[in-house]
Amino acid sequence: MGETVYTKDHEWLVIVDGVATIGVTEFAQEQLGDVVFVELPEIGALLTEGDEVAVIESVKAAGEINAPINGTVVAVNETLVDEPELLNSSPEEGGWMFKVTLDEDYDISEFMNKAEYQDYIAVNA
């Protein structure tokens, strides 16, 4: 089990054997409110860090998810299509969004660990 790391855009990544599972944090789902629709990337899509890769629509607004890292989409969480509310109830487990295989020389030094992320949201909330 890889360590969970966090981005400033409130995404989390767990990297195991060069594959990152990516979703949004508990803090992000609270900010979004009731999620009613999730648009996921195509399997096989090549992601460049910063690209818009998914959209989360809550009752009140649409939120774009940008790729936190380069890679290729190898899986998406189809359950979210029918049960978008999973993003509210279980954002960091059942509500994962997509998995990407990373480039060999991937770099996660920019990301935060859990303690750093907690500090980050405490300051930025």
Binding site: G33, D34, V36, F37, E57, V59, K60, A61, A62
Partner: protein
Amino acid sequence: MSKAPDVKHTKFYDYHVEAGGKMVPFAGYLMPVQYAGGIMQEHLHTRDKAGLFDVSHMGQVVVDGEGAAAALERLVPVDLEALAIGQQTYATFTSETGGILDDLIITRWSEHCFFLVVNAACKEQDIKHLRKHLGDLEITYLSGQSLLALQGPKAKDIIGELTPAANDLLFMNGCHTTIGGIECYVTRSGYTGEDGFEISLKDENALALADQLLAYDDVQWIGLGARDSLRLEAGLCLYGHDMNVSKSPIEAGLNWSVSRSRREGGSKPGGFLGSDQILKHLADGVAKKRVGFLIEGRAPVREGAEIVDSQGNIVGVITSGGFGPTLQIPIAMGYVDAEFCAEGTTLDALVRGKNRPMTVVKMPMVPQRYFRG
């Protein structure tokens, strides 16, 4: 969240924060967009029980003086002389070119005295407009007055218990009364599609009244987010979105808001700002009109999305849209070319490059449950 000095807040600010309110700037005020329950829960609570809304940011204005009815009729296309004392009407302030400057509710308080509730974002402009055109009348902005709305099927039991006088009111009627010794003006009205009441009262009594209402298990605070989804399902226009100065009341589908007597063939046709244009729209029809849509699938279609026909021609634009918590599907309103206004017409909205199929439907999308006796 800190309160910037130039941002206003209503008397209920601390109550909102205590209830978990997410405070956002709205029309110069810090207002709760939602509370701890979230928009979905708050919306459904209002449809099921009774939602309490702080609408104190809205403008409360009294227009008083000999001939007030006839004078106000120069600014709104309604028959105010026909309004009984205690009766209310929806109206639009029309512009000289037949557009909408604001929408409002007018209540007749007495022969020569009218009580207006206008949108928060427009209130300063509305007061200038009133003073400019009605110089002989006394125009008083009730700056020390709060406004609460209690909306939903349980509202009548609660208000009926607190002030039996208000329980007999029919939709769009009001009365002066007291609730637990607090003087207030209660109307049977609101903007959610539900039966409900609006209560105007002095700021110093505002919290005491809220306490009385919140003492009921069926009552909880409802934020602006659910207020928006409730009014959207009820087919009600939001100023600045579904109507503005470049849309006439007829284009906005508010034909019913132009009184018969003010139309061609009526007893006092025209005579209000922009009446030539508006009566022409009534007689000849309009090129574009506001309609409601049910969206296929789950993706919300929001304000600004373009509307296209089956050939891909742009035929309109969405002005309000979102997820309808009661219907559990996305719904929207928008303006389309007249040939696409008929119920059942299928069109697409463009959302992030994808076509989202939708169907023109009759509004309201959720039946209104006003109490008409």
